[in-house]
């Protein structure tokens, strides 16, 4: 039981990171109906920007706590802003000129953009792993069970608390943005009928750009979390994380925001439990198998709306 709870905590942490990335996939799909395959690499760029800012600010584990928190907030803001610019640029260069072209065209440029970002980071930052010393260490001990064979401590690290709390806060803010602000309404309107939204005075191009910007900013948060949690990044992390997050978005029902979050959590939990109870090597196989099974029985995903073909 203790082991189970511990894995649950680990899984939720991992799932939060996937969920943050998955939102970017699901929002872009919702508004323009394409899969932005470069999104995983935007996440990777976000992690690199975060690393560069951390080093530039000279943050180490020895930094006093209050200063450390302030510095990390600064890192977060800078990483979100710069990564958002990257997201905006990719949309502007690779997708907008192809809007109105045949459906596969932006898909191909998305793959191109993904490869371009990977190679750019590989060349400019080097191909080797980039380690970062743990900045936030320490655990919060929940309880300890003593058995004759030894004791097992269920604990949640401060880093995990930080990740879960940040993700929750962002999710709440984000849901408010979509449901309560004029921009969110415009996004939902564009999702349903772009032309009509435009005729009502909504600048559709700008709304789509802002969607990419928002997705990229969230990916940057995920990037920073990943960097702090695992302490090592390289130019290739975007691929697997991107595929996982995309899987999460599809599992939850692509186009649905709560679905992306739920899918992220599920993928995180499946992976963690599988590696905890069965084998570490097959955790990805497990995650993707469950995706395949869910899609066979619920093609629209867990929270997705059934696709109604317009006549």
């Amino acid at each position: 039981m203790d082991y189970f709870i511990q894995q649950l905590i680990n899984g939720v942490t991992l799932g939060s990171i996937y969920g943050l990335i998955a939102i970017g996939y699901t929002m872009v799909y919702g508004i323009i109906g394409m899969i932005n395959f470069a999104h995983g690499d935007i996440f990777m760029v976000g992690a690199f920007i975060a690393l560069i800012v951390v080093i530039a600010l000279g943050i180490t584990a020895a930094t006093p706590l209050l200063l450390l928190i302030l510095a990390l907030v600064l890192v977060l803001v800078i990483a979100m802003a710069l990564t958002a610019v990257w997201g905006w640029t990719v949309e502007r260069i690779a997708y907008r000129p192809l809007r109105g072209s045949f459906r596969l065209a932006p898909l191909i440029t998305a793959i191109g953009a993904s490869i371009a970002l990977q190679n750019f980071v590989q060349i400019s930052q080097g191909a080797r792993n980039k380690p970062l010393q743990p900045l936030i260490s320490g655990n919060f001990k929940l309880w300890e069970t003593v058995t004759p064979e030894g004791s097992f401590v269920v604990q949640i690290s401060y880093m995990q608390i930080l990740i879960i709390v940040t993700t929750l806060a962002l999710m709440v803010g984000f849901t408010m943005l979509i449901n309560k602000t004029s921009l969110g309404r415009a996004q939902r309107a564009c999702e349903q009928d772009r032309k009509m939204a435009s005729l009502l005075g909504v600048n559709v191009d700008r709304t789509i750009s802002l969607t990419f910007v928002m997705g990229a900013a969230l990916a940057a948060v995920a990037g920073l979390m990943f960097l702090l949690y695992y302490g090592v990044i390289d130019f290739y992390i975007g691929f697997l994380a991107g595929v996982k997050a995309f899987t999460a978005a599809v599992l939850g029902g692509i186009g649905s925001l709560p679905g992306a979050m739920l899918g992220g959590l599920l993928i995180g939990l499946i992976e963690t439990f599988w590696s905890g109870y069965f084998s570490l090597e097959y955790k990805d196989v497990a995650a993707f198998s469950i995706l395949a099974i869910v899609l066979i029985f619920m093609p629209e995903g867990l929270l997705g709306k059934p696709e109604v073909e317009k006549v």
Partner: protein, 281 residues
């Protein structure tokens, strides 16, 4: 009786629209008078909707220009504007022949989308809106008031929080007009607003359009097949046939124009008298 030439809100000037070899609209010119309800009529395929599409940025006309003249004195060349600016800056709103509501959003939200631009500015481009600070709350409240006002006018207020797709057909048509009015247009273009309405709904539509014209100083340009609607509410009627204007005047003038009768009955001009006699006109 040609005040629409003296004070026009929209001028269609020598507009031609070709689709490949097909000439949908040929060298068409007419004026839409300020404060008028102007009807664009004609047999099927006459090019009415094409004219609408040109005026609202859906198509770029092959030749000619379309000038919107706002009350403040600004002129806009609609054929050169991107479509979102036609609503936002030139003050032209339109509805479609087929209903294009945001079905998954509530009635209120549908009308709020139409007020996106002023709200974006008031919310400091979302930042203020998210934090609930600045003038955003006030602007949002005003937008809700305006939306509720139009829902009330179209007798939809009690369903404000239902998804738009759940409404019956006639109510959806009214909601489209309400939504268009929420953009505060100076010219409202309606593509067959009475299509599919029962006689009672049709009569309500007439009242609504008169209200819009008289109380909101909004000019109305509409395409309509239902002659009883056209003749009853229009101040000015333009008849198209094969992409050309064949008649232009008050409802009475148009009704008695032999060319119009010919176009609708499908006979040559010189046979009109004979046909009229046969049908007892």
């Amino acid at each position: 009786m040609t005040h629409w030439n003296d004070d026009a809100v929209l001028r269609i000037e020598r507009v031609t629209m070709r689709f490949g070899g097909l000439v949908a609209v040929n060298d068409l010119s007419f004026n839409v008078g300020r404060g008028d309800i102007t009807a664009l009529i004609g047999p099927n395929g006459a090019g009415k909707t094409t004219v609408f599409n040109c005026a609202t940025g859906f198509y770029k006309p092959t030749e000619g220009r379309i000038v919107m003249m706002r009350k403040a004195g600004e002129h806009f060349l609609l054929e050169r504007m991107p479509d979102f600016k036609i609503s936002a800056r030139a003050g032209v709103a339109r509805t479609f022949q087929n209903i294009r509501l945001f079905g998954g959003m509530t009635l209120l939200e549908n009308l709020m989308v139409a007020q996106h631009n002023p709200l974006m500015v008031a919310s400091n481009f979302t930042v203020g809106g998210l934090l609930g600070i600045g003038g955003f709350r006030k602007a949002e409240a005003e937008a809700v008031d305006r939306a509720r006002y139009w829902l009330d006018r179209t007798s939809l207020l009690d369903r404000a929080d239902d998804p738009a797709a759940d409404l019956p057909y006639g109510a959806q048509r009214r909601l489209e007009i309400a939504r268009a009015m929420c953009t505060s247009p100076e010219l409202l273009c309606l593509d067959e607003p009475a299509a599919g309405l029962n006689p009672r709904e049709s009569a309500e539509l007439n009242t609504l359009l008169h209200f819009i014209r008289d109380e909101h100083a909004t000019s109305v340009l509409l395409i309509e097949h239902d002659m009883s609607v056209v003749m009853e509410i229009s101040d000015h009627v333009i008849v198209l046939d094969y992409g050309e204007k064949i008649s232009d005047g008050t409802p009475d003038e148009v009704k008695n124009d032999p060319k119009v009768i010919a176009a609708y009955l499908g006979v040559a001009d010189d046979e009109v008298d004979q046909v009229e006699e046969e049908v007892g006109l």
